[in-house]
């Protein structure tokens, strides 16, 4: 879970928010104030699938699982394919 969390934080800050003066922390609400937009979420999900080695079905892409990096890592970093 920690590995997934650290990789996600690195990807979000290094790639998704690269052009912006924003640094996300593990508990930053990713979907408040337009931090993550439509193209970025697709990249985030693709990266999450790469890191976890499993396909993420649309049904699991809900706020409960995507509130911030901690909740993403908790849900997807511990669940087996």
């Amino acid at each position: 879970m920690t590995e997934v969390r650290d990789k996600l934080l690195g990807y979000i800050n290094g790639e998704l928010l690269a052009d912006r003066a924003l640094i996300a922390g593990p508990d930053t609400p990713l979907f408040a104030d337009g931090w993550i937009e439509s193209l970025s979420i697709l990249k985030l999900i693709a990266y999450l699938e790469l890191v976890t080695g499993r396909e993420i079905p649309d049904e699991e892409i809900v706020m409960k699982n995507f509130q911030d990096v901690n909740t993403i890592a908790e849900h997807f970093g511990t669940k087996r394919p």
């Binding site: 979420i41 697709l42 649309d58």
Partner: protein
Amino acid sequence: MSEAIATPETGFDNGMAELSRLQEWIPVGPEVQLGSRMMALINWLDSKFVAFATETGAREMSVPHCIERSVLEQAGYFDSFPGEGVVDENRGGYLSPATCYHCYAKLAAASLPEPGIWTCISRCGRNEGKEELGRLRKFMMREIVLVGAADWVRQQRRKGMDRILAFAKSLQLRVTLQTASDPFFAGGAARGMMLLQQIKQLKYELRAPVDAPGTEMAIASFNLHEMFFSRRFGFVVNNGVPTHSGCIAFGLERWALALAMQLGPERAFKLSGEEHK
């Protein structure tokens, strides 16, 4: 989705067969001809939605019959719904796919001194390429449009959901309120928009079972647009506070159909003849 609220269960009454026998719902291709009692029910329902809107401070806005293609382009309609066709009225314009597009066009470049609520009604048109009960090519949509700061718009939408859920319950109409996303075609940025809608709970639908258990029809939707339309049409509130919008939409034929099918036509038609208690 996770947030489903159900009103008490009522029975089906073979409503469609009865509606056909009474000649109150006559399918003509992808459109429908309504009998006078269905029309009366629709008008009664609309009067209830207007009353709800004005109770919340809405002003009525008159909108034109047709909408220009340029307005739909400005609204991003063709990017957001690449698979849907618009309905050409051969009068130099289209039937709008949703009533609220007219409203944003009227608010273009406006500087609003305070948050605002408007309500308007129009005949809408969509070529969705699907054949389902209640999915009409041309239909009437009443909308309530909300413009203000993010928290205010979200609160107004919540109030609207509570009020309309209570109204459905008072009619003994069985419904569920569910998070939803628009049926974008999969792939590309459109899928991203759909997933964002899903995560951020931007869209709720009030769905009513019709015809048979497991068959549902969306009769209302409660939508947050964030700053999508205020940016595209350039309207601001309170001297430029980040301006959000939202809308509450009612498909009038679908409400009447759901009532007739769940309660039985005769019981549904009585609603428009005597004030519901």
